[in-house]
């Protein structure tokens, strides 16, 4: 799963492995690499356009909404970044344990616990000044997420209970926890849903710009840079990958594999918890039923599209955030039924993956042709 390893430059001569290709060449190859993805998105749009037309709506308006919504003004951008933040954290929460070969499907429950922890502090200590309250809210949310994933990690290490099983079940438990907190403990009587009371003023993440973007976005940016650097360069990142690649060999070479796996799960829970805390402190100022949205699934998808590379996660997350924000407005703008969005997203995903395969096949075919030509040439020379 480790891209850092498998995507290294294609060198045929051992000696030039250490040298990186020049920047211009890299930029160009990056641009070329983007073409298949663009084609994939386009293909998905074409299929969906047919569908929209058949249903009697205007596909052009629909797609204009999808693609431009994030960029046409600051509001779109802020909305996109507000989506990007939890998506990135949830994707990391999936990708980090994945590095160690563990599937954390519990990002949703961990995030919910994060919102509950954050809201609990934000509501009960609402009078504290911001310098104390805000950090406290974020820390408690993070810890709550970590504790939730620690349960799965503990079951996994001590009882060999598959983490997919335990995280899925704990997600369902977390819904009940949230329901209890939002409709019993700190319920907002006026809200027609399970919604808690608002958190104190001092617990709110300050915004910047107009419309305000909450500073949680910057926090997530920082977290993703740290995560990427740690994954690429740190001992911890290496051990994580090693455990995922071969647990036995890692153990024989001095890595405490159990500890690495458990840590990866707990870090994941902490990140998901932080996502919850940021949603509370930055967006909703409370926790509420449904606050987890579909961040878990999108996070998994992002983590997998990034092939576990933590460096790629924030970029992929941005792409998905643009799509999500844009797709959401499609119906209002074009009148096309809202289900089209799901179909579009599903197709884009499928085609993106397929474009990878197509590129790879094309590249291999070209390589094979080239190497055959070369061998013909050398044979000719000998003859």
């Amino acid at each position: 799963m480790s891209t850092d390893v498998t995507q290294a430059p294609e060198a045929t001569d051992v000696t030039d492995v250490a040298a990186a290709p020049p920047l211009a060449q890299r930029a160009r190859s990056l641009a070329f690499a983007a073409i298949p993805y663009a084609v994939a998105v386009l293909a998905a749009f074409v299929v969906v356009a047919v569908l929209i037309t058949v249903l009697g709506h205007d596909p052009v308006a629909a797609f204009r909404a999808v693609l431009t919504n994030s960029f046409r003004n600051q509001t779109g951008m802020v909305q996109t970044l507000h989506k990007w933040a939890p998506l990135t954290l949830l994707a990391l929460a999936f990708a980090i344990p994945l590095g160690a070969g563990r599937f954390n499907i519990g990002g949703e429950g961990q995030m919910i616990l994060g919102t509950v922890g954050a809201a609990a502090v934000g509501i009960t200590m609402s009078d504290l000044p911001m310098v104390i309250l805000l950090p406290l809210v974020l820390v408690v949310g993070t810890l709550a997420g970590a504790v939730w994933s620690a349960i799965s990690a503990w079951l996994m290490e001590s009882f060999k209970i598959n983490e997919i099983l335990s995280t899925v079940l704990l997600n369902f438990v977390s819904f009940e926890v949230l329901d209890y907190v939002a409709s019993v403990v700190w319920s907002d009587p006026g809200a027609g849903g399970a919604v808690t009371l608002p958190i104190g003023e001092g617990a709110v993440l300050p915004g910047i710009g107009r419309p305000p973007m909450h500073t949680g976005v910057l926090l997530v940016l920082l977290v993703s840079v740290v995560a990427a650097v740690m994954a690429k360069r740190s001992v911890a990142g290496f051990e994580l990958r090693a455990v995922g690649l071969n647990e036995r060999a890692s153990k024989l070479h001095g890595i405490r594999t159990g500890r690495v796996a458990v840590t990866s799960m707990i870090v994941a829970g902490a990140l998901a918890g932080l996502a919850g805390a940021i949603e509370v402190a930055g967006v909703h100022q409370r926790t509420l039923e449904g606050i987890q949205s579909n961040f878990l699934l999108l996070g998994i998808i992002i983590g997998l599209i990034a092939r576990g590379s933590l460096t790629a996660v924030p970029f992929v997350a941005f792409g998905i955030a643009v799509l999500e924000v844009g797709a959401g407005s499609m119906q209002r703008v074009s009148g096309a039924p809202v289900e089209i969005v799901l179909i579009l997203e599903g197709l884009i995903l499928l085609f993106l993956l397929m474009s990878d395969v197509a590129t790879e096949r094309w590249r291999r075919a070209r390589q094979a042709r080239a190497s055959r030509a070369k061998s013909q040439l050398t044979k000719g020379a000998v003859a």
């Binding site: 509001t75 507000h82 027609g192 919604v195 449904g290 209002r332």
Partner: protein, 321 residues
């Protein structure tokens, strides 16, 4: 930050249009508008507004975390009135309203919110009023003296509904017992079916549903029972076709008039207010044909008493269960 170049381009594009004060309404629905339930009722009202000359657009199946984005986009696209259908959207609506003082907002709220912005109308659904009538209805229908109440989430409004039913029973001097349960999901029909079956098994013979599309499960629980052996009621819309022979009626909500009224007030410059939903403004208990006449009479009387003020229904959100 995200680039400092632009001033907000979209905001004033709508207001500069033709001189006529044609309203451009954008609505936000929480579920699918073809649910034959709460969202369908909303769409109907919106369509009515369209017939009355407004320009409309809407988003459905909007999750709470996404509503702010949908609202801002609607404003950006030139909506002059934005309506969020469902009180879970109030907070986001108020927030966006504060940022967009030139646009009018209609939100729903159970009660009167604190710090209601100057450009926000709220519609108070007062579910407890309707359920007072349902209390009379169910109590009269029950032969066993046990009525099951099947809710989704145990929200304050749901508590108020149960308390209002209890008040109705006390007021009518009956000794009917209410067994309230919450399935955890307004739309999970399977859970509703299971709970209803258990309630029926435990001696209840009337099921009062306070669900959305999950209500179909309460109907299904009567499958295999003889006609007349128990009754089931619903909320929001007439569900006679789906419910079958045990259907006693429904507490129906119609938003056509409330929406038209509020739009009218906004049109006449009244930008903030609280619109109360009650038996005089679109709420009604529609009793099915097979229901005994005395029951129907009692329900009608209860509705009239509430409407006239002869009966004061207490709003009690105290926790149960």
């Amino acid at each position: 930050g995200c680039g400092g170049s632009g001033d907000d381009a979209g905001t004033d594009s709508g207001s500069g249009g033709d001189g006529a004060k044609k309203q451009v309404i954008a609505a936000i629905f929480s579920g699918p508008t073809n649910d034959a339930d709460y969202n369908a009722v909303g769409l109907k009202a919106l369509k009515a507004a369209e017939s009355a000359g407004a320009k409309i657009s809407f988003s459905e199946k909007v999750a709470v975390p996404d509503v702010e984005a949908r609202l801002t986009e609607a404003v950006g696209d030139g909506a002059t009135v934005v309506w969020t259908h469902g009180s879970q959207f109030y907070d986001a609506t108020a927030k966006v309203a504060k940022n967009n003082p030139d646009v009018n907002f209609i939100a729903e709220y159970d009660g009167v919110p604190k710090d209601q912005p100057a450009n926000v109308w709220t519609i108070d659904r007062q579910f407890h009023l309707g359920f007072y009538g349902m209390g009379v209805f169910a109590s009269k229908l029950s032969k066993t003296g046990t009525v099951g109440y099947v809710g989704g989430l145990s929200l304050p409004f749901s508590m108020a509904e149960v308390h209002a039913m209890e008040q109705a029973i006390t007021d009518t001097g009956a000794s009917t017992k209410i067994k309230p349960v919450w399935t955890g999901d307004f739309n999970d029909a399977a859970k509703a079916q299971q709970f209803s079956t258990q309630l029926l098994g435990q001696g209840a013979d009337v099921i009062v549903g306070s669900l959305n599309v999950g209500s179909t499960g309460t109907f299904q629980a009567f499958e295999g029972r003889a006609e007349g052996d128990g009754w089931v009621t619903a909320k929001y819309t007439d569900k006679a076709a789906a419910a079958g022979k045990h259907y006693a009626g429904s507490l129906e909500y119609d938003f056509d008039k409330p929406l038209a009224d509020v739009l009218g007030k906004i049109g006449s410059g009244e930008e903030k207010g609280n619109y109360l939903l009650g038996f005089d403004t679109g709420v009604t208990i529609k009793v099915a044909d097979g229901v005994p006449a005395d029951v129907k009479a009692a329900v009608d009387k209860a509705m009239n008493d509430v409407k006239s003020g002869a009966v004061k229904v207490k709003l009690d959100t105290a926790k149960i269960g």
